[in-house]
Homo-oligomer: 462 residues x 3
């Protein structure tokens, strides 16, 4: 998966190579212990070599200058705040590989990345940012699940190779991220907690809360007020099973809406070289997350639907009806067609939904050509949206025109949630009209509609 | 995940490196814009440097010759049809790295790959095929889901490294595919749309259509003709839930049949060095797809089964029966054993089915040793087939011998679909007989049955 | 995904390069055939060049010495037992790249790896271990599912590059595993069959067997003895649907117990630098497998629950009850609340369970930062455990205090299985107390509690 060409002078990796670690804190100790276990010799550089606390036994401790001179590779396990003293060691560190493993407590604390700062302090050294994305546990105990890959970056190729060799010996796989200018990104990586999921998650929570209270008032509290009947037990399953599919369908249509908006924007502008507005850009970048959350809600909807017949309430009502009626009712073929179609369309929609989810897995989407990927995510995606919308229309059936559906002048939840997917599907249909499709294709192939005094040339500059 | 060793003369990556782009069309513009954003300087080579349409602002435009001389790396963003004029630039392009990003409109349009043609035109340059598998969108906006990997190939290692460095800076990961002879494959890649899924998909559609009409006539139209009763509403769920499991079981057995055939062929021929006939080869290569489609149908079968109790028709019939009978019927223990076993075996079979599907995910199968992979796909696979077949036999139970099952002398669908899996399982059992197994193992370890005047030696030449 | 820099002298890959193969057995023949198909020329080294059995047609056969001298790269397709004669070829093999493709029949047959032994025999050659993890089928026919990656290791970087180039041309991707000391691991790889799954699988089988017999005696045999009633048909679904959730919940809590134990151990010892006892280490390393098996059992539980209403037994009982009662019973709101909450909590727990399973997929966990990974696996994991435990408590409801639940003085299965998860959750709650949490955080950041005459310094040495 990666390249570990060792560019040592002899061409052969020396066993028992000597590595230097600056800093005797937790990180330095963990790393040193692991390096010793792997077969390296380790020398620590310390301000007070004789009183620096417990260190792994077979490690030597020296002054910074002496330690630096004894090894070609120096791990900097010091907080960035204390980097400045390294400047005085510039002569000893000249030509050495400095491995910056530092992380900050929060993002954007400093204008430049720690590794860039280090490189600026000691221009004669070859700074390589590495290992900072690993947990201290992984550094001490070797790779585990989310700690297999060492990302590194740096300006000098041979320095990066040298660090690669060490990382490989420690059992990690290496992923080169380019020059030291990528350090900022690497230093932000361990601090992030699903940044691209935040907006979709907030949206999901907001929609869920809204529809929960809307339906709570409309379906349960209203019954209590009108009929003084407590049906609050319905919150747990019936209400949840109304909220989940509603949120799922809205999220799914929100996943396809930005693509449609972008297409109309390109048609309106007559060029594809103008940047989209920021909100649209951000929206398009979280489509995958929107879709996956929608899938999660759909999955809950499926399970909530399937447990219906084993619910106490349903069993009770069924036997109550049977007992009270006690006669064979009329079989309604239309009803049978409608409900069976409703279930069938729903199942097929969910199957396609799952297919979209599976092709979103990194290893699957990496194996697809982009033509295949866009076929599935765009074509099959819109078909999925159509199935799910149709499923909801079948659920409504003839209730759309019945006044009794609009209790207190509010529409039921499933009618509200049909607005957005219907709009998306209609707009998408418009885009599929031959004349519109042809214009859009031309624009996406680079053609530009030119006005006499346009400024599309400048639009390229972004 | 990849190697970005930059072999520039200094060993250090220069910021603001100058790159050249030939061609000012859409691709050239997109690529140039992105390179400028990433921090490169860009010079365009154009036939008409002063009237070549809108280009990114900070880019220079020169004649082809001048542009080529100013940079070491030249992106060829020209259609293959126009490559011939490049021959005149051979002196200026000598020793340069030429990045061929071109794609063709369809496969096999030309006898040789575009990159090979380019290399032949300018033998003194180092041609690298790269970036052609990315969408124009990804080239302009950076990596996204199915656009993370840049495949490249070329004869010169240093040239490939130089292109790797650029690709990494643009945010992509690089996958080296070897020498320029791999260019054909890379150029075909973006044109493909699930080539290995076509045969299995066609098969699935064919089988589904056949069994749909077979059961439509046998179960629904026949009732209409005989009893003048319209039960067409059953198409949506009941009929679908007969067709899906039938197709699933047949597809699953088709997935294991070629392996059994291949084993018998090797036993018959007494050698493993003879190539299999083409049809068998092609069949074996789409086993994974056959299995995954079978899993999809099985998944639909599960959902269609689970919604049975919430169907209007089923609820109606249940209450109708209760009302009409109005007495406690006898409890049939055999019936309870049989149906519960039927469900239980089905569930376990589906669980194993899913396990097979999960281990087919690229990232999971890559993490397995081939002994583990073949254990799951072959041993567990045949156990899955056994469970699913047994599940179907339990469904039939004693109906196989009842004449009433064979309406109009046609067997029910599930009997038809049992033929193939039963054959596969019997053949597999034969192969597991110790004496047969021993012969086969010997053959697979390289042993050959030799006849006095055989031609097995020649069989090696393929 | 990997690096194939070819360090041939010219910088250009020569077509029709000559490669040498020692050994004319099955492996040598398969490999040679494939190399010839890929465009290499092949020469075999053999003891009896004129009577060595069938070989691919275009291949030459020579004596070992002559063959070795004609090529730079020599594949050693000989059993380790016969390596010793290679020592006599040391002069001819000096400076050559020797590719060791050998595997052993079982682990730990020899004190040193085959490749290390080979390197010791011929110190002047550059031994590279490679291709041994592929099946013979893949070597002959090219990459397929679990046979895409060639792992290699060796002391010489250029030798590894040369082998990488060949592997890439054969269609494989290359993963460098470091120096020749990694050969042992590579040679053990093809022999392994889910080593990390054994302990969890045995545990799962043991727990399943125990609870199966426990519940068989308690729920079915006891009824037979007391009431002479045969309800053995319940084994297939009812009993299974008791055993599966019980085992699932126990396995899930076993997945989180070691983490809690480790935390208390660190608190007790006042340092994180002391190694955990071996049993705890081994336990922690199989947490992922424990969790995935637990998910499998939970999945079966879900399916077994969902088919309940279509079971013959359940339908029979329902209609029997309806018929026998024949009056509208009282609706019990508490019962409705309780059962609906029970289902709802179970569904949400299963949803989270699935989420944990999905993030365990290699490609997904690789894409997460370890902060994200530990958030999901630890925080969400404990929430999942809480949901599932709560689900089981809701199932028990008020039966915990009823004497009638304890037939024959034995508690029902679900009560037994609640012990472990309850303990884990209580311990975890203790760890979340601010004062405990603070101490633990300090310890995990490297702080050590020091006693006047402690030996924690030595504890570092492991």
């Amino acid at each position: 998966r990666e390249c570990f060409c060792s560019f040592t002078t002899t061409g052969d990796i020396l066993t028992q190579e000597l590595l230097c670690i600056f800093g005797t804190g937790d990180l330095g100790r963990s790393l040193g212990q692991r390096l010793l276990q792997t077969g390296y010799r380790v020398v620590y550089g310390s301000r007070r070599p004789h009183s620096c606390g417990p260190l792994p036994e077979r490690a030597q401790v020296m002054s910074h200058a002496a330690a630096a001179q004894s090894a070609n590779l120096v791990f900097i396990c010091i907080h960035r705040e204390n980097y400045d003293f390294l400047e005085t060691l510039a002569p000893e560190l000249k030509g050495k590989v400095l491995v910056d493993v530092s992380n900050n407590v929060e993002k954007n604390l400093y204008p430049e990345a720690n590794a860039e700062y280090l490189q600026r302090l000691i221009p004669g050294a070859h700074v390589v940012k590495a290992f900072n994305t690993l947990s201290a546990w992984a550094l001490q105990n070797g790779p585990s699940d989310a700690n297999r890959q060492v990302y590194l970056c740096g300006n000098n190729a041979e320095a990066k190779q040298a660090v690669s060799v060490v990382a490989t010996k420690l059992g990690f796989t290496v992923l080169d991220r380019g020059s030291v200018s990528a350090a900022k990104e690497l230093e932000d990586f361990p601090l992030q907690l699903f940044p691209e999921w935040r907006l979709p998650l907030r949206l999901a929570v907001g929609l869920t809360a809204f529809f929960f209270f809307y339906l709570l008032i409309r379906d349960i509290i209203s019954v209590y007020i009108k009929e003084k009947k407590d049906i609050s037990f319905r919150i747990m399953v019936s209400l949840a099973n109304k909220v989940f599919p509603i949120v799922s369908l809205i999220m799914l249509s929100l996943c396809y809406l930005p693509g449609v908006i972008a297409a109309f924007l390109q048609l309106y502008r007559g060029t594809k070289y103008k940047r989209f507005p920021d909100w649209l850009d951000r929206w398009m970048l979280c489509r995958k997350q929107l879709g996956l959350l929608a899938l999660g809600f759909a999955f809950l909807h499926v399970l909530y639907t399937l447990i219906i017949p084993i619910r106490y309430y349903v069993r009770f009502r069924l036997s109550a009806i049977t007992v009270s009626e006690n006669r064979t009712p009329e079989f309604d073929t239309t009803m049978a067609w409608r409900t069976d179609s409703y279930y069938s369309v729903g199942i097929l929609g969910f199957g396609l939904y799952l297919l979209l989810g599976i092709t979103s897995l990194p290893s699957v989407s990496n194996a697809l050509s982009w033509r295949e990927f866009s076929f599935i995510q765009s074509k099959l995606g819109h078909v999925t949206l159509f199935f799910c919308t149709f499923h909801t229309y079948l659920y409504g059936w003839d209730k759309f025109l019945r006044a009794s559906s609009y209790k207190w002048y509010t529409p039921p939840g499933y009618m509200l949630c049909l607005v957005l997917p219907s709009v998306v599907l209609v707009l998408k249909l418009l885009l599929l009209l031959p004349c519109v499709d042809r214009s859009l294709t031309r624009i996406r192939q680079g053609w530009e509609r030119t006005n006499p005094d346009d400024d599309s040339r400048k639009s390229l500059l972004t």
